[in-house]
C-alpha cells in the first residue's frame, strides 16, 4: 500500500509535501484569500452553484486526506457521502430535526459506517483494499435501492425542509443558507489542514511512504490507517449531509459508484496530495457539469477527455503543477 499514491516515477508533489515556515506563511495567506472569496462569492455567482462547489470540494478534500496523505485508495467513498445524505434528509424531513442536528447525525452515521468498513478494508492492501471499499459501497447502494421506505428508492428523499438553524434562523433563503455552508466548508478545510500537519499526520505520511519501515519503527500501522480512514469517511459524510440540506434532496446518485469515481476525478485533476488541489478540482468538475449541461450525456465524454489529458500531461494535477513551479507545497 505504501504507494498507490506514489508509484509513479515522478512522484506527484513528492518533493513538496513538507511545510517549512515560508510555506506555512503562504498557506495562511491562501486561507485568508479563500475566506475572502467565500465572502464575495454569493454576490457575484449563483449561491446554489457556489454551495454545490463547496459541498463537493469538502468531499474531495476528505477523499484526498485518505489517498494523498494516508496512501489509501478508497473506491467507495460514495457510501459515506450518500448514507450521510440520506440520514440527514430523512431526519430533517421525517423527524423534523433542525438542520444542524440532521447534518450532525448524518455525519455521525458516516463515521460509524467508516469505522466498520475501514476495519474490514485495511486488512488488505493496494488494489484489494480498493476493491473491498468498492464492494462494501455497492452493498450500501443495494441497501438504499431495496429500502424505499427509508431512502425513497428511485425517487430519493425529495422536498427536504431546510428548516431553521438552531430552531431560530430560517435557511429558506439561499443567501442565508450559504453562510452556514461556507462555515462548514471552511471548518472542514481547516480541520483537514490541521490533521495533515499534526503529529498524527506525520505518522500517516510515513506509513504512506513506507509502511514496513514505519512498522519496524514500532508504529502499529493499521491503527493509523483505520483512524485516517474514519476521519476521511466522517468528513465525506459531513459533505453529503450538508448537500442534502442544500438541495433538499438525497438520491441514489449520491451512493452510486460513479459518485466515488467523480471524487477521484476531482482530486486527481486538482492535485493529489496537495492541500488545495481538491478544491480546484471540485470547481473545475462542478463548473463543467453545470455549464456543459446542455451537452447532455456528452458531459461524461468531456469529463473523460479532461481526465485523460490530465493524467497524460500533468499527473500532479493543476495545483500540483503550480506547486512544482513555485517550489512550495500547496
Amino acid at each position: 500500500m505504501t504507494n498507490l499514491a506514489s508509484t509513479t516515477d515522478t512522484p506527484a508533489a513528492a518533493v513538496l509535501t513538507e511545510t517549512d515556515d515560508g510555506a506555512a506563511r503562504l498557506h495562511r495567506n491562501l486561507f485568508i484569500a479563500i475566506a475572502a472569496v467565500l465572502v464575495v462569492a454569493p454576490f457575484v455567482a449563483y449561491p446554489v452553484f457556489v454551495m454545490k462547489v463547496l459541498c463537493f470540494a469538502l468531499f474531495a478534500l476528505a477523499f484526498n486526506l485518505l489517498l494523498g496523505y494516508g496512501g489509501l485508495l478508497s473506491f467507495g467513498h460514495a457510501a459515506y457521502f450518500g448514507m450521510a445524505s440520506y440520514v440527514s434528509a430523512y431526519t430533517a424531513k421525517n423527524w423534523g430535526l433542525t438542520p444542524e442536528l440532521a447534518i450532525l447525525l448524518g455525519t455521525a452515521v458516516a463515521a460509524v459506517l467508516g469505522t466498520v468498513f475501514g476495519a474490514l478494508a485495511i486488512r488488505r492492501q493496494g488494489i484489494y483494499f480498493a476493491m473491498i471499499t468498492l464492494a462494501l459501497a455497492q452493498m450500501v447502494f443495494f441497501f438504499s435501492l431495496q429500502t424505499p421506505r427509508f431512502t425513497g428508492g428511485e425517487d430519493g428523499i425529495q422536498a427536504v425542509p431546510r428548516g431553521k438553524l438552531f430552531g431560530l434562523v430560517s435557511l429558506a433563503d439561499d443567501r442565508v443558507l450559504y453562510w452556514l455552508v461556507a462555515a462548514i466548508f471552511m471548518g472542514g478545510l481547516l480541520l483537514i489542514y490541521r490533521i495533515i500537519h499534526s503529529p498524527f499526520g506525520q505518522v500517516c505520511k510515513a506509513i504512506r511512504d513506507n509502511e514496513p519501515r514505519a512498522i519496524s519503527l514500532g508504529y502499529r500501522a493499521n491503527q493509523y490507517k483505520l483512524m485516517v480512514f474514519v476521519l476521511s469517511a466522517t468528513l465525506a459524510g459531513l459533505a453529503g449531509a450538508t448537500k442534502a440540506i442544500v438541495f433538499q434532496l438525497a438520491s441514489l446518485t449520491d451512493v452510486y459508484w460513479t459518485m466515488s469515481g467523480e471524487v477521484v476525478l476531482m482530486t486527481l485533476v486538482g492535485g493529489l496530495g496537495t492541500v488545495f488541489g481538491p478544491i480546484v478540482g471540485a470547481i473545475v468538475i462542478v463548473a463543467m457539469q453545470n455549464y456543459l449541461a446542455t451537452l447532455g450525456a456528452w458531459v461524461t465524454v468531456v469529463q473523460g477527455v479532461v481526465f485523460v489529458v490530465c493524467v497524460l500531461l500533468f499527473r500532479e494535477g493543476i495545483v500540483g503543477v503550480i506547486a512544482k513551479a513555485i517550489k512550495k507545497p500547496l
Partner: protein, 255 residues
C-alpha cells in the same frame, strides 16, 4: 551463561509450500556482540532474518528475546521491545525530509501520535535530537532535502540514523553494505562499529571482508541449516564452509 544471551532461537523452521527455507536453526546471540549471519545464495539468511523480525511467522520453533518468548509477537511490538531491524532495500520515507525521517522515529515514544488536532509544531522539541543524529551519520548538510533525493549510500546512512533514534537495545541489519560503493562501505562500517559500543548487532552480510573485520561471531547457514559457527578465523578454515561457498559458485564475488 543464559543471562549473556540476548536473542536465541531453538528449532526455528519455516516451510513454504513443500520447501523448507529454514530448518531447525538454533542460534544464540551474545549480548553486546556483533554477530554475522552468512551463507551462500539460497541459504535461508533473509528468511531467517524475517523470522527474527517477525515479518514472517515461523512454522515451528521458538524465539526468545531477553528471555521473553517473542515467537508470536507482531513486528511493531518487537520494535517496542528494543529489537529494531533495517531493510535490504533502503528504507527511508522518500517524501519526507531527512530531518523528519529521523524525527518520525523519535516521535514514536511521545504518546500523542493519534492527536490529529494538535499542531506539528509540538514536534519541534525533537528537532535538536534529530539534528544530532543526522550529524552523527554525516548528513547535516542534507537535512532539509527530501529523503528520496539522497544518493543510495546516504539513504543507508539516514536509515541508520533513524534506527538509532529509537535507541534500540539490539539492531538487526539486513545486508547493510548491499549495493554500496567502497567509500560508503568504509563509512557505514565505521558507523556500525561506533554504534555497536553499547548494543548488540546481528547482521546478514555478503561482503566477507566487512564480516571479517566487524563481527565477533559468525554463523554460517547453508540449505536452511546451521553449517558452522565461530569467529572468522575458525569459520573460514572450516572445510564444510569452503565447500558450501565454492559449491554454490563462490558466494557473491566478495573475497
Amino acid at each position: 551463561m543464559p543471562e549473556d544471551t540476548i536473542l536465541s532461537t531453538s528449532g526455528l523452521t519455516k516451510e513454504f509450500a513443500g520447501f523448507t527455507a529454514v530448518n531447525g536453526v538454533d542460534l544464540k546471540v551474545r549480548r553486546g556482540s556483533i554477530h554475522a549471519l552468512i551463507g551462500p545464495n539460497g541459504a535461508g539468511k533473509t528468511t531467517c532474518f524475517n523470522l527474527l523480525t517477525k515479518f514472517l511467522a515461523p512454522t515451528r520453533g521458538t524465539i526468545l528475546y531477553n528471555g521473553r518468548d517473542i515467537t508470536r509477537e507482531k513486528p511493531a511490538e518487537i520494535a517496542r521491545l528494543g529489537l529494531v531491524r533495517s531493510f535490504q532495500i533502503s528504507a527511508v520515507f522518500p517524501q519526507l525530509s531527512v530531518l523528519t525521517n529521523v524525527r518520525i522515529a523519535l516521535q514514536r515514544k511521545r504518546g500523542d501520535n493519534f492527536d490529529f488536532w494538535r499542531s506539528e509544531r509540538t514536534l519541534k522539541s525533537l528537532d535538536e535530537d534529530a539534528r544530532r543524529l543526522v550529524e552523527a551519520v554525516g548528513l547535516s548538510s542534507f537535512q532539509a532535502l527530501t529523503a528520496g533525493e539522497l544518493s543510495y549510500g546516504r539513504k543507508r546512512a539516514l536509515e541508520i540514523a533513524t534506527t538509532l533514534a529509537l535507541d534500540p537495545e539490539m539492531l538487526l541489519l539486513d545486508e547493510p553494505m548491499a549495493g554500496m560503493g567502497r567509500e560508503d562501505v568504509e563509512r557505514i562500517e565505521a558507523l556500525i562499529r561506533k554504534v555497536s559500543k553499547d548494543r548488540t548487532i546481528l547482521m546478514v552480510e555478503h561482503n566477507l571482508s566487512v564480516v571479517a573485520s566487524l563481527s565477533d561471531r559468525i554463523t554460517v547457514l547453508a540449505r536452511g541449516q546451521v553449517l558452522a559457527e565461530g569467529d572468522y578465523a575458525a569459520v573460514s578454515k572450516d572445510p564444510r564452509v569452503v565447500e558450501a561457498y565454492i559449491g554454490s559458485g563462490g558466494g557473491h564475488g566478495h573475497h
